[in-house]
Symmetry: C2
Subunit: 481 residues, 2 copies
């Protein structure tokens, strides 16, 4: 048996190991650039270092922390590395790390107000700070889900409830005409996933064509709705995106909001990545029209320096969200049910971790001005990189750069065949990522009837500086062969 | 502006505050009994101490941590307090706290294997350790969701997919006969919530009667299925429970498994609370027959000392789960897709926090034997408390005590009216919880045609000792008036 109390680490052990972990974390963050961003591993390789069965008698924290350092950390893709440019780059910031440690120690579950008054009230208040900074109207009430996928799922569940006048809750979809949800071809896969989960069927998630800048075409949307109504289908919701995942395009939300109002459809805005930009006055355009949405999702774990996981769902119809999702058995009824918000009522999960604490820590420590400056810096860094691409021979950008993500590819003079270009750029991507100093990803975009394979560089880590992009650019050029 | 770097806490600041937080955590855990378990607060009271708007220039960590100590902590219900007996009592153990701090620092997102090889492989391995300890067959593959609600939602999505031969995914439920899901009257509300979310409709979640010990009646289940088939409805799944939330009853899983096999129905076992008991040889009966299930959920954040949130969904048909839930846009395709498991494919969320780390830390540090002994101790403590109730005049148990949760009430001689008894026991509950040294909750159980209000005492915190129950019992008796 390892030393210490049989029921948990003793307070002395906990103190000692917490200090050891604190030093490790400070050293890790200070030295994160010494790790390759993408580990050089094949699937299954790491597992060979992990015991096939759990220990009979328990291992000491010394052994566990040694394995953590020697096996786990080198097996992580380093999302906190300033050279991380894949997907959407993010940050587990210091204030957020501290909050997460405290959250685990409190271990409070805020399913109802009573089981965690601070969980509920800090979460609602921190979300309201964010609402104010995003210049959204007061009737947008924010709460936290784990990911934008689950926020969008919840929003579409509310839309489905309203669109069927509540019938879906008791009767299910079998007795109803096919419900239709609309989003652009460039919308995130979570919209389709939500439509599948909600039982509406992928065929009924209608993807609307985009313009050459990857923004939903509102005339095509209007025509699709009209056609569906003619055919006896029941349109219920439109998902507009402010910052699509592939190209960071922004749908024309004002025109879509007009249409949703005329047609009585729920408008959900997916601003998971792009939303935070609206805290900067000169970038407020990204949420233009979103004040007329029924719901909107923003992920502070993406571009607001909050550690995974923290997705804020703003909704103007909390009663509908609750009617769509809530089920309260007698053992969960509490004396405060009529006067307090029980956050279990607004999403698929019952138990709720104290995620609001890290949001509150991060927003407080950074403050609005510093966050604005960081976002400005990231947008400027991406613009600089876009300029390099535009100015370089044989490189081309393949989409506009309205945010902090650049889509580009290498196109040697004379090379026109898309499949050859794809293979050529896949090779570059493989070599860049193998170099270790950065990690980037890819996407596909449509240009006319062609599908173009593009590299995709995102800036979003708090520690990313110009020198990281210079190094990335150098590595990129060296990776052409 | 607070001191320090503009982009994050500096490494020196992070080190200093991490040490400060470490001391706070060690002191908190050592002194947790000095807090009232349930804070003396009214809804909205705590919020008055929170600024109405976020700070323009950021606050210092000193200010933030001071507010944390002075406003947040006193506003938390103390789930880590050994006098917490409400709902299901749990533990944010030391090894789990350390792992959560490290998880936040790494901030790795394991949506696909490549974005976090260690996230994927440690999660799968730790879940497999648990599978072995639960004596489940090798083809049960475990992964982590946030809560049992989401695990059950995912399992029923897979059941719905199989039950409709995949048609639901593309066509939705509109073109299909009404699908039916079965669970007992005592099943957790998450089953009904999942049926609502999945679009099947609450009317089609058929609750089956229970015996006097609150276990599903398999004959009634068989009859319900037969009747539904006669009426053209399509039975797809049965949810059996090993440890119901209200009374901790265990459904007769072997008989239900027989029926599911005969009828071709998906059997999902909700062992969120009760499952861990099966790591103790003499309690293995709680999962008898569960080796024949299609899926099973166990929550290590309930009775396995892992901090919130950690729910393990075991599934024998990972391909069906993936077909039911997965959507992979081009930008999420990776070179390893054919050889590695991408955990984003098996639940509603795309982004995935490194939850496997805390499970691995906790299982390793405790080891099997120590966990077995803790569970034995908790079951014995509950049995002792049950004996006190049984032996006391004017107190009665209102359900069997197969696990670590006791249902009971005060029934003064001559008092028979259920509404008077309810009011009498509600008063006791209010006074017990106001005393501060413990927190317990209530439930309702059916006895014949009566609904009985019951107090409900759960043992599950690693630090709960006999003296806590003695104190609770004393407070209970003093609260009768």
């Amino acid at each position: 048996m390892p030393p210490g109390s049989a029921v948990d680490l003793s307070p002395e052990e906990l103190r000692r190991y917490a200090h050891e972990v604190s030093d490790w974390i400070a050293d890790f963050i200070a030295g994160v650039e010494s790790y390759p961003v993408l580990p050089d591993l094949k699937p299954g390789e790491l597992s060979r270092g992990l015991s096939l069965a759990g220990p009979e008698h328990g291992d000491s924290m010394d052994e566990i922390l040694a394995d953590f350092r020697e096996i786990i950390v080198p097996g992580c893709t380093q999302w906190n590395h300033p050279g991380f440019h894949a997907y959407f780059s993010n940050t587990g910031s210091g204030p957020g790390i501290l909050a997460e440690a405290l959250t685990a120690a409190l271990n409070v579950n805020g399913m109802v107000w009573r089981t965690g008054p601070a969980v509920t009230e800090v979460e609602l208040r921190a979300c309201d700070w964010l609402r104010q900074w995003l210049a959204l109207p007061e009737d947008f009430v924010g709460h936290i889900e784990d990911t934008a996928s689950v926020s969008t799922l919840s929003a579409l569940a509310a839309a489905r409830h309203r669109g069927t006048e509540g019938r879906v809750r008791s009767e299910g979809l079998g007795a109803l005409p096919p419900l239709r949800v609309y989003c652009s071809e460039e919308a995130h896969s979570s919209v389709q996933r939500a439509v599948v989960l909600l039982g509406m069927g992928l065929d009924h998630c209608r993807t609307i064509e985009v313009d050459r800048d990857f923004r939903m075409n509102p005339e095509a949307l209007e025509e699709a709705i009209r056609e569906d109504r003619r055919r006896g289908r029941l349109p219920i919701a439109v998902v507009a995106t402010a910052g699509t995942t592939s190209t960071t395009s922004v749908d024309p939300i004002p025109a879509i909001a007009d249409l949703c109002e005329r047609e009585g459809l729920w408008l959900h805005v997916d601003a998971a990545y792009g939303g935070p930009m609206a805290i900067v006055p000169e970038y407020r355009w990204v949420l233009e029209g979103a004040d007329r949405a029924d719901s909107l999702v923003v992920n502070p774990h993406k571009w607001l320096f909050v550690p995974m996981d923290c997705s804020v769902l703003f909704c103007r119809h909390m009663n509908i969200l609750r009617e769509a999702l809530s089920l309260v058995p007698p053992y969960l009824m509490t004396p405060e049910d009529d006067v307090a918000r029980n956050l279990m009522d607004y999403g698929p999960a019952l138990g709720r971790r104290f995620r609001g604490l890290k949001l509150w820590f991060v927003l407080r420590w950074y403050g609005l001005e510093r966050l604005q400056n960081l976002l400005r810096k990231h947008v400027a860094l991406a613009a600089t990189f876009a300029d390099w691409i535009d100015d370089a021979e044989d490189w081309e950008r393949v989409a506009p750069t309205p945010m902090s993500t650049v889509l580009f590819r290498h196109r040697p003079a004379g090379l026109k065949d898309e499949s050859v270009l794809r293979e050529h750029n896949e090779g570059i991507l493989t070599r860049v990522n193998a170099a270790g100093s950065s990690f980037t990803s890819h996407t596909e975009v449509r240009r006319g009837d062609r599908t173009i394979y593009a590299l995709r560089m995102a800036v979003g880590n708090a520690r990313t500086e110009l020198r990281h992009l210079e190094s990335f650019w150098k590595t990129l050029r060296e990776s052409v062969c």
